[in-house]
Subunit: 457 residues, 4 copies
Amino acid sequence: MMKNKKIDKLWGTAFKKQPKEEAVLFAAGRDVVSVAPADEVLIPFEIKASIAYAQALYEQKIINKTALNKLLKALKELEALYQQGKFKLDPQKEDVHTNIEAFLIKKLGIDLAGKIHSGRSRSDQAMVDILLYIKSMNDIFKTEIKKLIKVLGQTAKKYQKTLIPGYTHYQPATVTTLANMLDAYKQAFKKDLKKFKAWNQLEEISSLGAGAAYGSIFPINKKKINQHLGLKQVFQNEIQAISSKGEAETLMVFNLCLLMNHLSSLAQTLIVFSTQEFGFITISDEYSTGSSIMPQKKNPDSLEVMKAKASICQGYLMSLLSLTKAGFVGYNRDLQWSKYLVMDAINESLLAPKIMAGVIKTMKVNQKTMAQKCSQGFILAQAVMEGLAMEFNLPMRLAKMIVEETVKQSQGKFELKILNQVIKKYPPAGGLKIKVSAKQWAQWTDPLAVAQAQMKK
Amino acid sequence: MMKNKKIDKLWGTAFKKQPKEEAVLFAAGRDVVSVAPADEVLIPFEIKASIAYAQALYEQKIINKTALNKLLKALKELEALYQQGKFKLDPQKEDVHTNIEAFLIKKLGIDLAGKIHSGRSRSDQAMVDILLYIKSMNDIFKTEIKKLIKVLGQTAKKYQKTLIPGYTHYQPATVTTLANMLDAYKQAFKKDLKKFKAWNQLEEISSLGAGAAYGSIFPINKKKINQHLGLKQVFQNEIQAISSKGEAETLMVFNLCLLMNHLSSLAQTLIVFSTQEFGFITISDEYSTGSSIMPQKKNPDSLEVMKAKASICQGYLMSLLSLTKAGFVGYNRDLQWSKYLVMDAINESLLAPKIMAGVIKTMKVNQKTMAQKCSQGFILAQAVMEGLAMEFNLPMRLAKMIVEETVKQSQGKFELKILNQVIKKYPPAGGLKIKVSAKQWAQWTDPLAVAQAQMKK
Amino acid sequence: MMKNKKIDKLWGTAFKKQPKEEAVLFAAGRDVVSVAPADEVLIPFEIKASIAYAQALYEQKIINKTALNKLLKALKELEALYQQGKFKLDPQKEDVHTNIEAFLIKKLGIDLAGKIHSGRSRSDQAMVDILLYIKSMNDIFKTEIKKLIKVLGQTAKKYQKTLIPGYTHYQPATVTTLANMLDAYKQAFKKDLKKFKAWNQLEEISSLGAGAAYGSIFPINKKKINQHLGLKQVFQNEIQAISSKGEAETLMVFNLCLLMNHLSSLAQTLIVFSTQEFGFITISDEYSTGSSIMPQKKNPDSLEVMKAKASICQGYLMSLLSLTKAGFVGYNRDLQWSKYLVMDAINESLLAPKIMAGVIKTMKVNQKTMAQKCSQGFILAQAVMEGLAMEFNLPMRLAKMIVEETVKQSQGKFELKILNQVIKKYPPAGGLKIKVSAKQWAQWTDPLAVAQAQMKK
Amino acid sequence: MMKNKKIDKLWGTAFKKQPKEEAVLFAAGRDVVSVAPADEVLIPFEIKASIAYAQALYEQKIINKTALNKLLKALKELEALYQQGKFKLDPQKEDVHTNIEAFLIKKLGIDLAGKIHSGRSRSDQAMVDILLYIKSMNDIFKTEIKKLIKVLGQTAKKYQKTLIPGYTHYQPATVTTLANMLDAYKQAFKKDLKKFKAWNQLEEISSLGAGAAYGSIFPINKKKINQHLGLKQVFQNEIQAISSKGEAETLMVFNLCLLMNHLSSLAQTLIVFSTQEFGFITISDEYSTGSSIMPQKKNPDSLEVMKAKASICQGYLMSLLSLTKAGFVGYNRDLQWSKYLVMDAINESLLAPKIMAGVIKTMKVNQKTMAQKCSQGFILAQAVMEGLAMEFNLPMRLAKMIVEETVKQSQGKFELKILNQVIKKYPPAGGLKIKVSAKQWAQWTDPLAVAQAQMKK
């Protein structure tokens, strides 16, 4: 990933603050950056799995103590090289497994290194590598979602009494507080978090030891292998262990789809709120971009891209499901593509929660504009109707008809006088014998009081 | 759903047994049957939710005891009418909510029945109806998956020593037992079962009381409402409760995709095994169909359709994810379509686990054909290689090269003699000083012994 | 489909006009209406195909003149019965083919009617039925799209000088006319129309005569059959003819996805324009709905549902593509599901172009509100920049920097004075020796002149 | 893309031929190769578009001859640098547009180079770059599909009289020739070719000159620009030109999905035919891979991966459709992701037709095995039934029942004697007065004669 401090661009001199580097990266996509080879990302996980496997081979007496020690030493050396950026995959060697085995053979000779593959296949190696990778990414997402939840909670606290229209169908339905609205998204992300946690319960399964789907006659002990890996479960059946390739990937990508959809909805809401016509919020320059042609432009690109990435993840999920349909028993090569799909989905969405937290933290809230909208038109019609029903013990259906008639007879403005006129004639024969007082009216048309009464603990 | 005993068809007189009615229904699709209105299916759940809501209104003193009793009596009467097939939705009345409220108003008058909608919106009603529906369907799937698991377990027990090639890439890789192969699918369905159970943990949330997304000023008690509904959780935020429409649906359909993909893979395996060329199994006439033009034809339609339905469910999931992307805050009408999607997905897959259990229970296994394949060609090459490595403490990589060279030098048949010749020259300089004995060879090439040794407890 | 004149609903008494029946149907979805059996829809096409087939059998001397005449008479009688609603599919008979063959056998005896299936299979029958169905639906869509194009053209004519901000990223970028904006959608639908026409070129292929994928030894003449059907092309290869099941369906559904995506984008634009905050247009009551709880509510449901249906079609396409992947040579039963998918996609979108035309025709345009936005803020910055560049032969990049600096120094309002101040200092050393005159400024900041100059013929 | 001559791998010493480099690349996926930055691929297209734009600016007198010549010289120099691998994108500069404009400014100074952006936006630049890219890729696909069609045609010619069972539902339905089967796929690819050609008719539209979606006040002449670009059409409306971003991409990816699905079906057929159990064909070592654990393994990876890539393309299509749904009028940043989707889809499938042509050309056909299957069991039942119906003028339905009864009474083998016995008793009362002669029987059960008679010209 690009780590530059400064990015030249054809826009932005009208900005007061320059966009955040991570926001630029998030929005820039893959225009000027390449996607790393998949197996490069897996190197540390392959090393970890090989260490676990070597230890287990020793415990089963397949290799002796000396061999173990040499292997461990070589693997740790390899890890250090990798950390220092000195170990690169050689594309002449098919994959990460071949590269690392070749490293060991070169270092330790085939007599020793040639033993580490005892009872192991590239199939179970590949399974465990990607699983360890997903697990670590899943942990990162959990952390980032928690941070976003925290930011939403903190921001909500600042706006407990800040009025904002409550919309349905893009139309004002009633009033609420900005705190309540932010809390809604907080709850959505809490739900996502539960799903990321469920991944560990449902898919964190070790398959190392399953070979190429049918085990081996080596006295492999799958539980001991896993003691070294530390995963939640151990596979129950070799065939299923390998045939299930793509499943941990699929659940991960599905969860990403859910997260990204929640983020895309919050993004859409903020995009609309930040239009000049709504004018409810101002997105910080740090999360905006300009135009190559329009000098005044400030665009909410970070948020638009959030929506793009939601769509992107959906396609990866679709590919995964199509890919894993109707496979013949045992491993089939088609399944390899599940690796790229999960990696692409993770890469596309990795920065998303962080960017959203940044947008929320830095946005300017135009409280006055929002408050004005909360006493315009008939936005409090539901409250008046409910007040009427409660106060005079009217059936809701009747109260609703009365208020609808009031709305119909009014000229864009809600008035007590008209309401009482309607009541008098309702139902036609005689009319109701009730009258709404100015005090009642004031209570039902106090936006903040209404907003707070509507929320239930 | 069609409940006929006998179906006329243009084929099948060559069959010994007639297809099962449920298998015909499963494969016939929607050719001659219609899909019921969505809200017809929801009637019992709407009644259940209305009963709960009425009770909670009483507890909050919004209606009195007499009103409650009248409402409950009317709702129970309605339920009885529905059970007897005497209550049908009137298409003049927009939806199930309008139909049932109209029934109550007609029965009890607007003064009483007009109160049940106090603080309630069609939005939260619709949410809770579909949730109760999904919950009940989820329970059915859990039951059917358990039954399928049981059938697989019982069938596996019968074939503990039945040899079958273990395939990868559609090619024989090694040998295994049919029991082991059936157990692999059993484990897959156990994994699915865990996911259907997780739905309850993750999505069984009551949203009744959230109104149209912003609550109401009626003193609604969301927890009391839910005590009557008995769902696992209560919503935390009104906006989120309603904006989350489609989420319980999405997880349900995702789980169905996983289940159907597992079923489709088992189906594909059985289709291939039942080709005349493999000849491993014979699908019972009860789960087969014939041709309108080819007199001898017997087709594994039940299994082919399983694959179709896996694809079908994937599309519904895709629609759900696209539908719920980038929604503006609060309820939007687009979300209504999530109802049809989850219902269609459930209807398409409802019979699938049962049909598969039937296919497994009634299939004929041609053990001799399978056993023959387990000693042909080089199917035991892995075992010989591993035996060699273990017995003589050779590195796997070396043992593999030796066996590969043996395969290359052989004429379609694995021979000890050639193996020992290869060993003598390997590595070139001098050759290894070992020799495989006839006893060792016999052990490594005994398919059942190998199959059993490969499986790990 | 429901044909009721009046629909009872829990809302709408505040409306001046009642919603159009077709708008209610469009938005009501499948709540209270059922989906007809697929083969019921195919009856007229099966009759048409059978007539063509009988004629061709006669021409090949497989049946004689008397037999032909009897078959034709019976088929025409059947068609009359169907038109009068007197012929219904018997669900005891598997499908439309079986039902109609049974009708013929009952009417004419097996000796005669038993011959019509000579060389024919349900596979090629099913192919041709659905093809004729899609062709007729494709014709309807072409007609409806043309009508929508016409409405957009007529409406655009009314608003040639009506200013509206030109948005990018939901932010005002410059000014344009409403006519230009409507024309953009007109062009989009013209592009769609070309694609619906291309379907005929690419997929209108007769497969009748291909049997069950391998022809028959009857001397069937595929070209003569098609002379009676009148389709554009005749299949080239029996296997491909039948294996291609799902392909005409897939292209149709893909085209529907494109159409619905265009409609969804227009819908989204109108939804945003009709928010109270934008206030650019007012959707007619005829295409709106109300709320069961909020008396003042008027929602753009017709447009929201348009978006839902775009998502719905995407899922059907996905299912089709997943379904038709990796099929083994020849016909496989999975493919039958392509029928329901194309029918569902067509049913969901059939009313969409008409509804959109209605919305456009009846919407109220609030020209004043739109015009106000066209002279606010820096909306004309691009025009000023371009004027500057053109008039003084400045490089665009320099002109852009000058205008950006002007925007930065201004307080929300674009002023000539500040522009000239900036120019004087730009580039820092000395500044430019030019000055914008009041006349030039007036020209560059005249919204209508700018809007018109920007559009190219 | 990796261009290595030799790839080290953990398998393959048992192979007689080494896998083709392109087959290894195709199957290796992205394990050890990276994906290039998207805009790197676009460099030559951006240069081409800039040349066209500069020329058109000159023709409109926006720049003078000297300026034009300098720009053209600099752009050609840039192209030469790029071709020599000496021009790389600087990731500090946001995209290809910024990079190239920066190059020009550095080379020619801002006074001159700063003019090339007159009336141009990154939006229309990006549109035209990707369009030119897709067009060139579409041309490559057309060429490769034609080659594949040719190979299928040539191979078919070799197997005109080679019998093979004709399958439906994975079961033998009748007999046919291998030539006929290969021709079926040839026809499928011819259909694909028509669709790739239709892309040019439907989507080859120049949008250069549309600016950021609303044109510019510069006197840009869109038709002249396009004369230099040479595309089929010119945009009709600026807004639509830019809002349509993603549409040329979507049709391209859709066509790729269709192509890949055809390839995946041929792949699946060949995978099944090359199982040891079918044994119909042998895939060349050049298109196979081995196992890291099983010494004897030879897997049809090239074909399996073909299926994976079909699924992969489906996901990209899905993302594109979800991405382009419900966009607000004008350009939105979400659309940028359409670029990566179309590029990824193209990259994944680019080698597919060539690989398939290679597999077909090099596969070994085991004619004897296939021929044996063509006279086994009841594979000729349809021919016998049709012969019976034709010869004795029986209704097909009756002939079918007779043959079905014959099948039922036979013991796995089709016999004339049993057929004649059944005829005698059919229908029950009295039986038919006909008898099949040995000569007739021989004719109806001659596989090659039947196969040829079934195919229609």
